[in-house]
Subunit: 218 residues, 2 copies
């Protein structure tokens, strides 16, 4: 299992299609990628059960492309695109579940985000996606439906900070280790889910669904 | 090695001796213990080298009593003191190194604390301290010196939230696993260290230094 999970906040370009996530969350467009940690105890493996909404929580989904690191990365040069790509072992699709009301209160009060992002079951992930299946990780379509209604559906080309920059920035703070997971940020369309809702999510490359990425979470 | 490190923020009682840490950081006295995660990559084992100050960082020490969890704990009742104590395998002394300027900026902007708390080498820890060595973890003295000058020196009796409450609150968010570490919060006296400074830290029980707790960090 992963040793650490780093997740990037609000990472989408100033484009009509995607900038809405920044607006949705009243975020200021960042000059650098900020990130936070999710505990490994939040991970739900494929088919391993539902996301549990803690009492009083406004539970939001955020579908994201994930990276599984294949080796140690420390202080990576942001221009070393090849180095970043070589350090990735495989991809996954993940849903960065967020207790939005707790997160908003934490933001207001200057408190850490760990509670709002870290409850048990707050990170359903797909099977690993072989690297060769996604030849260009900045040209894949990720989507999420709630009860079969499309809520998120955007290309990873809309990332404000691209993968080499994310890996570099994180590696300048904390050494990435083999098996660490990185969530790369979500496109527009985040919103609430309640009891009984079923989330499905997937990833398309060149118009074809990637089977390993397929997620269904009650 | 630990799978997760949870650290409790500003946890000291309204007493002259200790409340200064809350003032020092302009924190509002909390109604509940808040906590954040440090990555396992921040851990420095005894004798394994210096704390590295990242460029431009106002680096602060925070000496803290640490818990090593001995079993899984999920949704623990806060009144179950025995359950909390039984779940602890051993203790340790740790220094929760903090990039204070980055943390202050994150607080102002409502950003996550992970960068300010998570740089490599930001968690020097001592050897494990056998549980029997600290018969009452709320009655131990922890201290930290910089270049042999005392900077922190207070009893763990000053914790605002005691250990069973901390373990309970964390376990209601994230299931604690065997090997997880918890930092219980620092007493007053936090302050900066620079290049060339040497931190020493220790823990006394009934007026006697506990040898396993002894830390020296260049
Ligand atoms: Mg997210
Ligand atoms: Mg971890
Ligand atoms: Mg601390």
């Amino acid at each position: 299992m992963a040793s650490s999970v780093a997740a990037v906040k609000a990472n989408c370009k100033k484009q009509t299609k995607c900038s809405d996530h920044v607006k949705e969350l009243n975020n200021v467009r960042p000059k650098q990628p900020f990130f936070f940690l999710k505990p490994t105890s939040s991970i739900v493996l494929p088919g391993q059960g539902p996301v549990v909404r803690p009492k009083g929580v406004n539970l939001h989904y955020e579908v994201e492309l994930g990276l599984v690191m294949g080796k140690e990365v420390k202080d990576l040069d942001p221009t070393d695109e090849q180095g970043a790509m070589d350090a990735i072992d495989s991809y996954f699709l993940g849903i960065d579940m967020s207790a939005r009301n707790i997160q908003e209160e934490a933001k207001k009060k200057g408190l850490p985000w760990s509670i709002s992002k870290g409850f048990d079951t707050f990170l359903p992930i797909s099977h690993p996606i072989p690297k060769s299946t996604i030849p260009d990780p900045h040209n894949a379509l990720i989507w999420l439906k709630v009860n079969n209604q499309v809520r998120q559906h955007d290309s990873t080309e809309l990332m404000l900070f691209r993968i080499p920059r994310l890996v570099s920035d994180i590696s300048k703070v904390m050494t990435l280790e083999k098996g660490d997971l990185i969530l790369t940020g979500t496109p527009k369309g985040v919103g609430p889910v309640g009891t009984g809702d079923v989330m499905t999510a997937g990833l398309e490359v060149s118009g074809k669904e990637v089977k390993e990425a397929s997620l269904e979470v009650p």
